[in-house]
Every structure is written in C-alpha cells, then in structure tokens.
Subunit: 450 residues, 2 copies
C-alpha cells in the first residue's frame, strides 16, 4: 500500500516546536485577559447552520463549512434540491463556526437570564473558513477575542486598547501601531460630504488608501457615485494630519454641524485624552481606518505589525451597539478586540522574538544502563521529575553512542548516565558546552538543569 | 424576531466556571505529560475523508461527521449518487476527526523522515462522533492522549501507567482502579480453549462480565459458537483470583503450552514486578479486561473511576504493534494511553475535589468613583494588576449599592473603593467576612487578595 497521504488544503499539523511557540503567544494573551478580569468561554465547533447563515454577507455564507447530516435521510433530501445552495441547506443542519463573535452573541442571548452584566468574556478557539488558501491565510485558524457586553462606558475601550499594548509589549514587539478611529466620525464625514446615504461606500473606499493610494480612492469614490466636489471633501478629510490633538481640533471645526460627528469626537477625546492609562505605544488616530464590518458603531481599532515585517494587521475590533439584536435581544451594547495568533506568530518568527524558554521541553535524557542498574536509574529519573524537571529515560537497551546521537538530534540540553563500577554516582553532561558533572543521587535530585 | 436559539444536539457551551475547572484537569495532565518527556502535537479538526474511513469499523464509519465540499459542483455530484453512503463520499472530501490516534498515525507516516524515534507525543484536542447523545456521551468531546512510537521497550508501559497514577493522585482521586491485562494472554486463552479462530469473539464476551454477569457471558459465548466444555474453560480462566503474583502463577501453569500466552505473561511480569516504579495505586491484573479495539497487541490498560461515583472508565490504552501499517509504514510499534476529560470532570464534581483555586478569576472589583477621581482609581487598578492580581473596574458610573450587588453576584472575594474626602486612601473589603482594610496606594499595590 503506497497511499500518498495529505491533510486538507489550508489546514496544518503543528509539531512540538510550533505548538510550544503558539502556546507561548496564547498563554501571554490569556494571562492578560485574566488580569483584566475577562472570563473564559468556549462554544462548540459546530453551530446550527441557521445561526451562522446571513451574518457574514453573501460572500461569507459561501465560505461557511457545512456538516452533512448523519443518517439515511440525506439521500431523499438530495433529490429535492434545485441547486447547490438548496442542497447545502437540506443536507446540513450544522456548520463549523466562522468566527467567535456570532457564537458569543448567540451564547449571550441564550443565557441572558443567567449572565451578570456587564459580562466580560474571552474566547480562544479555532474557526473555519473556506477561503482560498494562500500565504498567511488558512482554512482553520485560531482566534483570540475579548468582549464586554452590557456596558456603554468608554472605560472599556481604554481597557481593551491597554490589553493590546500590554500583550504586544510583553511579547517584545516594538514598532507596532495601535490605530483607532470612530464610526460616528465617519458618519459625520458622510454628512459633511452631503452624502449620508453613501456612508458605507465612502468608508469602503477610504479603507483602501494604503493599498490603492489617493488616486485609487478618488477613482473608487467616483465609481461609487460621488461627485468631484464631494470627493474633494473626502480627500481633504483623510488628509488631515498632525498629532492626535491637532487632528481632533481640525475635526471639531470641520464636523461642527454633525451631531454624530461631534459625539464621535467626544468619544475619541475620552479614549485618547482621559489620562486613564499610560501606554508603551500610545494609540494613534487614523482617519482612514474604517474596518469592513458594518456592525461597528463607535470606536474601531486595528493593530498593524511593525513595518519591517510586511505582515499587515495583527488584530482589530471595535464597539457594536446591537450585535445581539440579530438573535432577538436588542439594545445590548458591546465592544471587543481580537488577536490574530497566526500573524503574531509570523511577526515573532521574523523578528526572532521567541524566547528560548518558549521552545523548552525535556531538559535531560537518561541513558538506558542495560541490565542490572535499570531500576536504580529509573529511581534517579523519578527524583529529577519530582523536582519539576521534564526528564526522559531512553527506553531501549542499545549502545550508548546511539543513545547519545538520539539525545543530540532531539536537542535536549543535558544527558545523564551511570558507569560501572561507580555505584551511587550519576554523570550529567551539558550537550553544548560539554561540561560534565559527577553527582551523588542527592545532588542529582536538586540539580538545576538550566 | 423571536427565534428559539439552540446549539447542535450533543454539543455544549462551556461557561467561565466550567472552562476553568476543565483547564485545571487539562493542565494537570499536560504538566505530567511534559514531565515525562512527551511533546505536544496538534492536528487539524478536518482530515481527508479517505484518511478516516475504514479505520473504526462499519459502525464507526457511520458516526464520522463529513464536511460538505464548497462550491457549485456538489449539485452535479449529488445527482450521481445511488444511496446515502455514495452521496457522502461524492459530496464530502473532508471529515471531522473521530479520535486522536488515526490522525497521529497519519502524522507519523507523513513525517517519518523528519521525526526522531522513539517519538513521544501528547495531544489534547476535541474529537467529534455522531453518537446518539446521552448522559456522559457527547458529539464533541476532548481527548488527551500520550503515545510512544518506535520503541518496543516495556519501560514505556511502566511510564504510561505511572502517568495515570501521578495525574489521578494529583487530582485527589482516591479509590480508582488501574486495571491491566495483555492481549497475548488472551490469545493464549483462545489457544487453551482450542478456538484460536474465535479469539476476538471470546474477548468481546468476557469484556462484558461486569455488565452481564457470568451467565450472560456463558450465553454470549454459546451464541458466538463455543461448545459447553470450551465455555467452561473460559469461565475458569476469568475466575482466576488472588494477588497479581498468584494470578500470574496460575496462568503460567495454565498457558504453559501457548507461546503467545507465555510471552504475554513475561510482559505482565515486567510491568508488574520490575520494581521500576512505586505506585500510589498499583496496577491490578484483570483477566476480563479485553478492550474492544482490535489494533491492540500487547499490554492493555483501563482506569476505572472509584466505585462510589458509578462513572465507569475514565481512561484506557494499550500497545499496538502496527498502527502506522494502515498508512503504509509497517513495523512501527507503539503504546499509548488516553484520559477522558469529561468523565474525570464528573468524578471531581461528584467527589467535590475541585480546589477553590481552580475556579478563581477576578480577585477584586474596584467601584467606579464617579467624576473627578476616575483617573486616580484607574491608577490603583493598574498597580494591582502589575502585582499579578486579576482585577476589574466597574465601567459604568452608577450608584455604589448597585455596584456592590454586581460584585456580590459575580462572587469576587474583594471589592475596593475610594470615599470623599479621604484622598490617597483606598478601602478594600472582603466580601465574605466583611473585614475592611484602609490602605495607602503603596499598601494596596502589594496587598495580597488571598
């Protein structure tokens, strides 16, 4: 049998080294979420198909992985379908979750009687999307979200920005950018331009400034129905420069007539200037930041990786005033952020920021002594483990030079072995600097395999 | 809109308290796996359908969740199917993993050139099965496996038994049973009975002794084609009693003519009597233990929960000589164990063994002071967090008695607040014993919220 084995396109096996590095990122994020009082939640991989459909736009719907119903009924059902779309609905009651936000909203609504609001939850789980796989884009990937629902306070916005700052600083990433904006300010822009009806079109166009440049944005705005003088106003708006304060001042004059715009500016002022928190990397007001998701209604945030690594966004989020309204619970405001673990992994790898400890597993391998001293060596092994040191005994009775090669290939820092006739003596050797320690069993038990 | 929301049958949401308790179990297991030198592996939720089908028997195949292919092709494909089975194959290239063992075997074969053998890996991930949901049986559940492949040494068996002993002792479970047997001894039994052709039938029948009693086993053996005198021999065999040593002695005489039986006994003697390891709860030889999975070839093990909780098996495993042969890499022996996290959860819950620390989240909630002192309180909050204490600030400016009620409902151990006009003073109150501490900001920063 010579099958060519593979795993599904866009999915990955994570070997030991990669799992350890990923866990280093995830546990740094989790620790910070916990420190900020967020509580863990886990939802199933599968949701009812009806829970997910219609929440991510038509394109999103197509990317949801549906799960075939079990049982014989499916054959009969398949005959009734008139097209691929109907077929999916008839055959698949369940689907894999596409993000953590919709399942969270579903959870909040299902448990509204039991939850204590404001409810602060974090969730670190894989999600699945049928996107075309490409560099940095996978069909199974991990999301790390923190959200607060049931509180309108802007303190929440500050706390979430502070979490980004804390986590990324702790991971040693320098030069990242914490960009914020406010959807109400963008509403103000649409009013200023005189085209409140085209607010979404305007935000979609200016969001692309990075990629397509000013001329590109002008072209796109024209295609989306803006007149030349309207376009000029948009371009003038996104051209506003200076410090956060300078920008806020110019905006204040520009949006004087827009109620939404004024409220947006007030929110931005609180978040940027309340003095609630000191940042290692302070947030920067970026008027071109729009974020595609239309459920955002207040502050929006996006974290950009350091320019040197060309990885783009490593996180984002914002305030949404009515997410749970999708499931029949209107008027519950929320605000949340997300970390892109895969992208952060790539940043740490590119900048060589993973600490050696993140890759650490077994510290010492004991050689199989052969014959009579096995129980003695096993005792040493257990003593070392009792001291909290991950340790192994090579399980097979083969020549010591082969065992040495194994330890070398494994990259463990130390080996340990006994030699006849030295009873009650254990030799420990550092694999890199070749230093050898001659230890009594007592010394071994407390030896630091550093 | 008044949708009745639900999640798929047999799946669960895990709220904060449950996630914390589950993580307590999982991190105890993970820590021990690491201490014993096992390395983490993660495989995708999805495997190619062809990787999974045919590995779990006909019944298993039916329980595999298949994932509908994306794209329009499915409609055309659906027309070609003649029955539900064909439909599933035509429409679903991918399926959710059913256990961790087959994906592990697939991984080992795919990476055989890169892996260093013996390869010791652990894997803690959810798996999915379309079983009929019932108490203690879910369609999505977590498996925790540790396996060693590429070593025939019985030291591995001893290490794995020791892991069970260590983890369950650390979790505080008393009165569990670590049952072992050896498939070669069961082969010996089939030879002794004179029906080596019915070895599987015999093992399936005796495995049920617990549930159906001796009469039931006799009946089942008869139905499976054994003659009365053959059945008597089986019953005599499983009736062998006494200490491990006494059982081994009787077996030694009984299986004197069976080469397989003798080898099985030798293996059992090493595992039970090598003196390699001391156990808190030593393994017990149970001749009725058979384990259904036919890929086992040597030692088999099953962990039974304490009788008082009536939960049954909380883990199991064994040696398999040719698992990777399924994927074209024959002759790679392995041995592994699995922990049933959901069952262990139920045991700890029933015996009230979860430590208070396992449920711990936020230690202190700061009250929103209203108005001018917000930045000051925010500073205190950050100082407490800098000391590693999970802490929150109530985000909304509402009456303090409402904030108090919130803290009460949340069950946090401490609250903290400021009072006018006492500048530079923070009050901390223990919610249960009502003790109040008057602290300077410096004292607060190092206060132990124990």
């Amino acid at each position: 049998m010579t099958t060519i084995l593979s795993i599904p396109q866009g999915t990955r096996d994570f070997g030991p080294e990669v799992v350890r590095k990923r866990n280093y990122i995830i546990s740094t994020i989790r620790k910070t979420f916990e420190l900020y009082g967020f509580q863990p939640l886990e939802t199933p991989a599968m949701e009812n198909t009806s829970t997910l459909l219609g929440k991510y736009g038509d394109e999103g719907d197509k990317l949801i992985f549906k799960i075939l119903n079990n049982g014989e009924d499916i054959f009969g059902h398949a005959q009734m379908a008139k097209n691929a779309h109907e077929l999916g609905l008839l055959l698949c009651e369940k689907a894999l979750k596409y993000d953590l936000t919709i399942p969270f909203a579903r959870y909040v609504v299902m448990n509204k009687g039991k939850l204590i609001f404001p409810f602060k939850r974090y969730q670190i789980q894989p999600v699945w999307r049928g996107d075309k796989p490409q560099k940095g884009r996978y069909r199974e990937f991990c999301q790390c979200d923190a959200d607060i629902v049931g509180s309108n306070s802007l303190i929440n916005e500050v706390e979430l920005l502070k979490i980004y700052d804390t986590v990324l600083t702790e991971l040693g990433i320098q030069g990242f950018q914490l960009k914020i904006n406010n959807r109400k300010v963008l509403t103000g822009l649409a009013e200023l331009v005189g085209r409140p009806d085209l607010m979404i079109d305007i935000t979609i166009a200016i969001d692309k400034l990075d990629k397509i440049g000013e001329d590109g944005v002008r072209k796109e705005l024209a295609e989306r129905g803006l007149l030349p003088q309207e376009i000029d106003k948009v371009i003038a708006f996104i051209g506003i420069s200076g410090s956060n304060d300078e920008k806020l001042q110019q905006l204040s004059a520009l949006l004087a007539q827009s109620e939404a715009g004024q409220r947006g500016l007030e929110e931005l002022r609180f978040v940027l200037n309340s003095g609630l928190s000191s940042f290692n990397t302070p947030p920067v007001l970026d008027l071109t930041l729009a974020r595609g998701l239309n459920y955002y209604t207040g502050m929006i945030v996006e974290v950009k990786a350091p320019d040197s690594v060309k990885i783009g966004s490593i996180g984002g989020g914002g305030r949404y005033d009515d997410l749970t309204g999708l499931f029949g619970l209107p008027g519950t405001s929320g605000v949340g952020i997300s970390f892109g673990v895969d992208r952060i992994y790539d940043v740490l790898e590119a900048l060589q920021l993973f600490p050696a400890a993140a890759e650490q597993g077994t510290r010492v391998i004991f050689f199989h002594p052969g014959g009579a001293r096995l129980a003695e060596v096993f005792g040493y092994l257990q003593a070392v483990r009792a001291n909290g040191v991950p340790a192994e005994l090579f399980p097979d009775d083969i020549k010591q030079d082969k065992q040495y090669k194994y330890a070398e290939k494994r990259g463990v820092p130390y080996i340990a072995y006994v030699e006849d006739p030295a009873a009650d003596t254990v030799y420990v050797k550092h694999m890199q600097n070749k230093q050898r320690y001659t230890l009594t069993p007592q010394e071994l038990a407390s030896f630091e395999f550093a």
